[in-house]
Amino acid sequence: MKPIRNKNVTFVDLLDRVLDKGLVINADIIVSVADIPLIGINLRAALAGMETMLEYGVMEEWDKTLRNIAIKERKKIEEKAVEVVV
């Protein structure tokens, strides 16, 4: 397969690179904007499309909670299943 670089299809891929990566220069010779992110988080999310910005890490936390509940429930069934079999 051939690599693609199409302005619409790969804009998010471009964002990931241009905003998060690339060479950075020693802070004391460049214009700094204190702690303000150059591009607001909301704007970034809008640019990238909200759903793609939902990083896996966030989902994982949410997943873990669900999984714990599921494990407890599973134990309950196993106990019940034993009763059923008996």
Binding site: M1, K2, P3, I4, R5, K7, V9, T10, F11, D13, L14, L15, D16, R17, V18, L19, D20, K21, G22, L23, V24, I25, N26, I29, I30, V31, V33, I36, L38, I39, G40, L43, A46, L47, E51, T52, M53, L54, E55, Y56, G57, M59, R67, A70, I71, E73, R74, K76, I77, K80, A81, V84
Partner: protein
């Protein structure tokens, strides 16, 4: 008169240079008004290096206007693309890096950072970056796993014999088992694909996975590749893309954004 000098000094300290990229040749070139907000882009040279810049105020480009920011970012990339056509090796900068002061300050920086910049240029010489994202169809893969997992099969049979409430818990259990199995499979496939890809590239960076609309990402890689090795990598990726339930997004060539940070 004094007031005039004061004013001039004030203006001078407000000057800045927006830097797009670094190139490993000393060549004075004017690229025309291709820069952000139609600024003239040109090179500032120092001993076998040059910085590609435009003149601006000593002030970052910040805006809440989505379209405007999109435009800036596309232009940043476009300038680097144009420079890349003229020069083989380019070190791209992050968006919105502005050196305070005039050309002299840029030269000062090139001199001070000389060794590091040369090293970085050497590392990416004649190479390009490509993005590889591998997705899997969770539903399809999940069905396959469920089809061969004995525990799940047993539970599925059991569901028919129990009350509605219990059936609900059976379903939950199946989901839990499936999730665990999927995680193990994801790990297995990740290693397998990573090894397939690794053979064809010079360097890799593993990026964070992202959730996309209806596809689950399994792997997000940036790879540094010698220009004439891209075809082989493409052929390898085609193998993965053909596997049932998997798809590959292969993007590039990009300037080597992922391989120019210190270290």
């Amino acid at each position: 008169m004094e007031q005039e000098i004061q004013q001039k000094l004030g203006e001078e300290t407000k000057e800045g240079r927006y830097v797009y990229c670094i190139v490993d040749k000393s060549k004075s070139i004017k690229f025309g008004r291709i820069g952000i907000e139609n600024n003239e882009v040109y090179t500032i040279t120092h001993k076998g290096l040059c910085a590609v810049v435009h003149n601006c105020k000593s002030q970052a480009y910040i805006s809440d206007n989505e379209e405007m920011v999109k435009d800036w970012i596309k232009t940043h990339q476009n300038v680097i693309d144009i420079v890349s056509e003229k020069f083989n090796t380019v070190v791209p900068l992050t968006f919105d890096i502005i050196v305070k002061g005039s050309n002299k300050d840029v030269v000062d920086w090139l001199r001070k950072d000389y060794e590091r910049l040369k090293r970085t240029l050497k590392k990416v010489k004649d190479k390009q970056e490509f993005g590889i994202q591998i997705f899997w169809d969770e539903e399809k893969i999940g069905e396959k796993i469920a089809g061969v997992n004995q525990e799940i099969q047993n539970l599925k049979k059991g569901i028919k014999k129990v009350s509605q409430g219990e059936a609900y818990f059976y379903k939950n259990t199946i989901e839990t088992i499936l999730k665990k199995e999927m995680e193990e499979k994801a790990d297995e496939y990740f290693k397998k694909f990573y090894n397939m890809i690794r053979e064809h590239v010079n360097n890799t960076k593993i990026d964070k996975l992202k959730k996309e609309k209806d596809k689950q990402m399994l792997m997000n890689l940036s790879c540094l590749i010698h220009k004439n090795k891209v075809k082989k990598l493409g052929a390898e990726l085609e193998k993965i893309n053909r596997l049932d339930g998997f798809s590959v997004k292969f993007t590039g060539p990009w300037p080597p954004y992922s391989f120019v940070s210190p270290g």
